[in-house]
């Protein structure tokens, strides 16, 4: 599916997973080969002209994936960063150590 649809489905998956399970995002380099490497004697697979990024997300019940090309990287990066900031909010907020030392000093 395309990048924008992927992010929408990802958000749905993430909010569903919040209540009961976790979700996993995997990134891997993809060279466009969709067939297994042929045996010796057979013609080899064509050399890839460009590499892409394969992005997969899976949760307990659903799996989605998308391919990101070089041109789409900036857009995808922005959308993904936005998604991370809005959804991954269960982490601890680090309190700034109030300068008790400062108070003690002055």
């Amino acid at each position: 599916m395309n990048g924008f649809q992927f992010i929408l489905r990802l958000e749905k998956l993430a909010s569903a997973a919040k209540s009961d399970s976790s979700f996993t995002v995997t990134l891997k380099r993809f060279n466009g080969h969709d067939r297994p490497v042929p045996r010796e004697g057979k013609p080899p697979l064509p050399k890839p002209e460009e590499y892409m990024c394969l992005m997969r997300v899976h949760s307990k019940s659903k799996k989605i994936s998308t391919v990101v090309r070089r041109e789409d990287v900036p857009k995808m990066v922005t959308m993904y960063a936005q998604f991370m900031r809005s959804n991954l909010d269960g982490l601890k907020r680090v309190k700034k150590v109030k300068s008790k030392a400062k108070a003690a000093k002055g």
Binding site: S22, V25, T26, L27, K28, V68, D72, R85, G90, V94
Partner: protein, 77 residues
């Protein structure tokens, strides 16, 4: 497991692993809301480095690292 203590160490190790063998490496990020953790893992099917993030400030650094990695993966060479 092969956990590292700091995010900086994880980023350096992961970057080295990727540069050595880009096609074999995969990067995984697992978010567990109930525990408030993000588990990062980078493996090249031989070795593996992991990092457990529990604090908000780490999230921004993880974002940066992920976008950096994505850019490397979808490049021309």
């Amino acid at each position: 497991m092969v956990f590292v203590k700091s995010l900086e160490d994880f980023e350096i190790a992961a970057e080295n692993m990727y540069m050595a063998n880009p096609m074999a490496c995969r990067y995984t990020m697992k978010y567990i809301h109930s525990k408030g953790q993000i588990l990062l893992k980078m493996t090249d099917n031989v070795k593996c480095v992991q990092f457990k993030a529990e604090n908000m400030p780490d999230l921004k650094k993880i974002e940066k690292f992920t976008s950096n990695l994505m850019g490397h993966m979808a490049s021309k060479e």
